[in-house]
Symmetry: C2
Subunit: 442 residues, 2 copies
């Protein structure tokens, strides 16, 4: 019997929506990003909708855009993800909690410890989105004059992953016997001292946190460059993909799963979830109108700033009504840059059109009725362009509520989405095995 | 009218009790340290008892003791404080939440951001315990072969403090206008870019979190060395003191408050809270018996390990029934080492006696009836040996419950402790002013 197709859904939040105009939309909550009461309600709504996870992006600096654009950004102040997610863990019971942790600007011992703590606190619902941090302004907040080179970041990231997972394996799952009678708190034979020494890190261990409930928190990645794909094929269990078309999705899916097969990894051990910006209407026309109204709320300066970030190049001097000029290569995220160049070429957009699109959301968008959106999601799933989606809501709370109240039931009717969680952990939701402990087997 | 004497009470937890034998005590919860359901109940009990704060110690390594002792330690696995406290913020309403953050092994941008996030999430209840991290094993988990020298740690710590507080002042309190009509999220005239460049740190800013609810989270310190006292007099708002006798307490209090006066700081702007290990009985004899039973649960190896840590010198080869031998100076916390040497001299203890005492708790202990304990606390308070205490419970939940159910009402009857919180923030509880923003006045 073939395995039934099942969508995995993450909610991608920063911690609200990515769309720059969304906070101005009628009925939207302008402070949603930084108001725990709202965020608590969002998380509980996602849990009602049987989402796999709340996925929180992160930046280690305010976005590097001119002040004229920055002053319009509703995400310029937001909670540190690893402060917010423990709080959300307390007000939810099943929802996975994925946060970004930088391998360039943090230390493996801190990252291992914090995600292990979150995994215990949430009874096995943590995920670590490994990023190498492409925002060059982050370097300036961490004592570096220039940003670390792309290839260096990936080499460091790979070693960082080895150290973190090694620290998570410091203790056998049954190390803590807590024998009060004999005064033995743990079995010393079940403690491993890592003693890692590599080109980037020297970390002795052991971790001062028990092995995570899930063995390891779920490993998530988003890089789409050659180095990023290879790192993901070797190590990731979820990819946040940025494939704008069904064709791109299929190609990316085949490429990464092919790399896994060549590495001897089971392709099912990694779930590919493209980001999908979803705009819901009772009719297609209403949904298109909502998107147009949202985009109209994006200021031109915000659009140009978003374009500059995506290109890694200042776009403020570009001729607005001309085509995108040739620009030199930069140290920006390669995948983001290529995506913009492809979009401009594919749709023949002017700089102004491109800026407006990017200031809203320029990637994969599903704009339509609940049934139409379910149709698109189903097509992506069954044609092997994805294993699910990281949904970006048009606005909050409206777009999120509509998704859970209208799209989720349609997906459930089709048997594409669970009606209840089958287990307690994020690994259960995603159908991922619990990794064995490299030092203690099983 | 003279200001009425008021005790400030912190609960010092790791996150349970410091006593090495306590997890084996009848009725104690052996996993309390790492079980959120228990910790939630403890925090709620402290709030019922009108405590100022939950104060969580931290270590960036497992304690550096021989495996024979380590395997008996009930704090070898514990939550990262900055993962636990956001969760506790959700299940409490008034209790202050103080965590340790290292200035030696973390980055100012991370620390500023995380404590600002906790302060917002808790509506103004965060405190940052600035430590320079004296455990030499921590260095080995962060890429250093040898520990950073004591004086260097303090110079770095002082600059770290300047950067963190400067980042907290990145935004005026009223910067975020969220004007949806005009698309203006913040007033760009109310953003300050720090551009810090110093001997240890280069940090541009601004912080990507709004100014904390309290302006700054409350600044806490614990160092008692000459450098530690001076840093505290310059910057601290709470000191966790380690003065074992009333006489020591008065001397320390006069010294630090005198330093403040010479620096032009109001001595009331800093609250000195010695740690106090409290053992409660219905009679003095019962309390003494409880302490004896607790100490009897400390294994000899644990005692010797605690002695080694306190001295910064391996004590395992010492003659158990002889006096403490001469030992060379080390890089251990100077205040801790001096305390041990004084204790041994003052009470004429053998190595074995000293080890047993340290494996339990060797500092200030109040052992008696609720009334007797209240008498001692009152004497310390009115003779200017302290502004309150960081209470260490003999065991949990019993010792904590007894304190809140028996000692707290006695203190309240005497008018020494609030019967209800007067305001929402930790600064309100402590009677501390909200710091002005150095870049925007007021």
């Amino acid at each position: 019997m073939p395995k039934p197709h099942q969508l995995h859904l993450g909610a991608f939040l920063r911690p609200t929506t990515i769309h720059t105009g969304a906070w101005r939309y009628p009925g939207a909550l302008p402070d949603a990003n930084f108001n725990f009461a709202h965020l608590k309600r969002f998380a509980q709504t996602l849990e009602r909708g049987c989402f796999d996870a709340f996925f929180m992006a992160d930046h280690l600096a305010v976005l590097n855009m001119p002040l004229e654009a920055l002053k319009r950004s509703h995400t310029v102040t937001s909670f540190d993800p690893m402060t917010l997610l423990p709080a959300l863990a307390v007000v939810t019971e099943r929802l996975g909690l994925i946060a970004t942790g930088s391998t360039t600007f943090d230390a493996p011992y801190h990252v291992a410890r914090r995600f292990a703590s979150l995994d215990h606190l949430s009874n096995g619902r943590a995920g670590w989105n490994i990023v190498t941090t492409s925002n060059p302004d982050a370097a300036l907040n961490f004592g570096l004059e220039e940003h670390v080179d792309h290839a260096d970041r990936y080499r460091r990231g790979r070693e960082f992953f080895d150290v973190v997972t090694g620290l998570w394996d410091s203790w056998a799952d049954d190390a803590f016997v807590r024998d009060a009678q004999n005064g033995l708190f743990f079995d010393p034979g079940k403690l491993h001292v890592l003693n890692h020494k590599g080109p980037h890190f020297s970390v002795r261990g052991p971790l001062n946190v028990a092995r995570p409930v899930q063995g390891w928190p779920v490993i998530v990645q988003a890089g789409a460059s050659e180095a990023g794909r290879q790192l993901a094929a070797e190590t990731a269990e979820v990819i946040f993909a940025a494939t704008p078309t069904l064709e791109d999705g299929r190609r990316f899916y085949a490429d990464v799963k092919g790399r896994m097969a060549r590495l001897g990894r089971d392709p099912d051990a990694l779930k590919i979830l493209p980001g999908a910006f979803v705009v819901i209407g009772d009719t297609d026309a209403e949904a298109r109108d909502t998107r147009a109204r949202l985009d109209a709320l994006v200021h031109e300066q915000s659009g140009l700033a978003a374009l500059s970030i995506a290109l890694g190049h200042d776009a403020s001097g570009f001729e607005l009504d001309g085509p995108l000029p040739d620009i030199p290569p930069s140290n920006a995220s390669k995948s983001g840059r290529e995506r913009v160049l492809q979009l401009a070429a594919r749709e023949g957009l002017t700089v102004r059109q491109l800026a407006q699109r990017l200031g809203g959301y320029a990637g994969l968008a599903m704009v339509g009725t609940p049934r139409g959106i379910a149709d698109q999601m189903e097509e992506w799933l069954i044609t092997e362009a994805c294993d699910g989606f990281n949904v970006m809501f048009s606005h909050v709370p409206g777009g999120l509520d509509d998704f859970v109240d209208k799209v989720v039931p349609e997906l459930q009717r089709r048997g594409l989405l669970r009606r209840a969680y089958s287990g307690p952990t994020l690994r259960d939701h995603l159908g991922l095995r619990r990794p064995p402990n490299r030092f203690f087997g099983g």
